[in-house]
Symmetry: C2
Subunit: 322 residues, 2 copies
């Protein structure tokens, strides 16, 4: 059973990552390609199949050994119908069913999940979320997204809805967000929020196009405006996590994504704010940096696929205490 | 099976309410007494047993017909150990086990639950939460508490922790709260928050001791300071519900408690704020006023007891669409 193999696919707006993953919990091989969604879904599907065939050949995984395929995809997606409904970052991939054609091609169970949920599942299976009954994983990058895993299952809201944890507001006087609110966490602590905070305070800055990673690098180099931007993002994140400890009382909060390159700068602010919380057992709620990096999505998608394929629930195997 | 009877007990700081509830879903009889926790737990337990015996006699419920007892109690409580740990509103009832002595006395299964969770279960079974898969019930009164019911089960966090939904912050410049944060929902919209908002703006007000209900009455009578206080509480509540739609994406949000006497004043503000949310299917998330009033706690406690007594899960019976 540990020899069984699943494929995990992680579809983002820029690139598609794939991996063959053994049920024993290790990655056998991985590959990527540019998404290029604008070329149309049929073209994308053909390229995905070619990528998977190549990966399986390279890792010596025959079609017979393949147990299931899991897909984590930038949402909105409909995990029940198997459709992608994301005109925002996957133009032309709107209302397309990705599950059925892959199921037909490979003759195995295929499952689709929001990419934040897949990443959360990956960290619960093999990363920083191991051993937690209620695990909230937050990805802070271009946006802020979150996945909640309860008793090894993805939490779903109304009609299977993926919750949008990054769009809870913590400051009614904060920046306006496309979500319809002011001062949501994403608008205060994402990569673009770091850039906006610097641009506001130094509009004539002569440097090239600024990125979140660039702001973090400048803060580390001692630039006071960049440091103020990082501090604002860290304070917003600390306040958001205070809220999450009261709203979910999770066992573990895992923080990943590009902005968590600055985890060491955020951590003291988070610890100090959480220590003030008298309502939740914050001394026993673990806050950890994600461990799987960009592998979290493919690992989690594979885990979901293995579970949905009715194999014994691999991710619920006893895990060593941390 | 519908003839089976459970007792629901709702223990608050001021009074204890009890009811005999049939599994068919109706209250057969109810009674109350003052809590007087300061007289000690042994005294309280004796008075509870006397109250239950009287209630059972009055409603013709023999000890043989009694299937189970459920208790909803002002938290913190430990539903797993069966202990009350509430020195705040139940002085002297700290660390006491209420489950074991009642189990010994009546020879039936006894379950203990946080009162907010019991009330939520009551509304899901027989009130405004009927038919919802994910139901969040919020009680806005002296404090703001919430219970989350998922697939008919009480949501529990780390080590069984009850989440403290009322203590998520929505305004970092808001009033300081005992929870350790500024501007949490409770500090902006509870009964005492209404009173504080009026006192701040009219410190020399000659009226007697102000209550939340008093502020609401004055707002209805046209007093502009009271109206401003109610508006601030409604805006805070609307923003908190915006957050909850993104954080839980529930099917139903039920609003109860004394301050919801002003539900008609809050509702337009809530609707307008939620309609701006582009991230959650807010047109399909129902926001409803609680229907069971002060019966929610005893009904929910009885429901939990019936379920825990391993009877068929009464609350999951098909319910008429609303």
């Amino acid at each position: 059973m540990d020899g069984l193999i699943a494929i995990g696919i992680d579809i983002g707006g820029t690139k598609i990552a794939v991996a063959t993953v053994a049920a024993a919990g290790c990655i056998l091989g991985r590959s990527t390609m540019p998404t290029q969604a604008e070329r149309g879904f049929d073209d994308g599907l053909r390229r995905i199949v070619a990528l998977l065939d190549r990966l399986m050949a390279e890792t010596g995984c025959s079609r017979r050994a393949l147990a299931a395929i899991g897909i984590g995809c930038a949402g909105p997606v409909d995990p029940i119908r198997g459709t992608i409904d994301n005109p925002y970052t996957l133009p032309t991939w709107d209302g397309v069913n990705i599950v059925e054609p892959l199921q037909a091609e490979y003759g195995v169970r295929v499952v689709l999940e929001n990419d934040a949920d897949a990443a959360a599942m990956g960290e619960v299976w093999l990363g920083a979320g191991q051993g937690g009954r209620v695990v909230v994983m937050i990805t802070i990058g271009t946006g802020i997204g979150g996945g909640i895993i309860i008793d090894g299952q993805v939490y779903r809201g109304i009609e299977g809805t993926h919750p949008e944890i990054g769009h809870h507001s913590i400051d009614p006087t904060g920046p306006a967000c496309y979500c319809g609110m002011r001062g949501c966490w994403e608008s205060l602590a994402s990569g673009p929020a770091l850039v906006a905070a610097v641009s506001e305070r130094a509009p004539g800055r002569p440097s090239g196009p600024l990125t979140g990673a660039g702001v973090i690098a400048e803060a580390r180099a001692g630039d006071p405006i960049a440091q103020a931007a990082v501090t604002r993002a860290a304070e917003a994140t600390a306040m958001a996590l205070f809220n999450l400890t009261n709203l979910y009382a999770p066992d573990v909060i895992v923080l990943g994504g590009g902005v968590m390159e600055a985890y060491d700068l955020f951590e003291p602010v988070i610890r100090q704010t959480l220590s003030r919380n008298t309502m939740a057992p914050v001394d026993r709620i673990a806050v950890r940096r994600a461990e799987l990096g960009s592998d979290a999505g493919v690992v989690g998608a594979a885990c979901l696929a293995l579970d949905h394929a009715q194999l014994p629930a691999v991710r619920r195997a006893p895990l060593p205490p941390r």
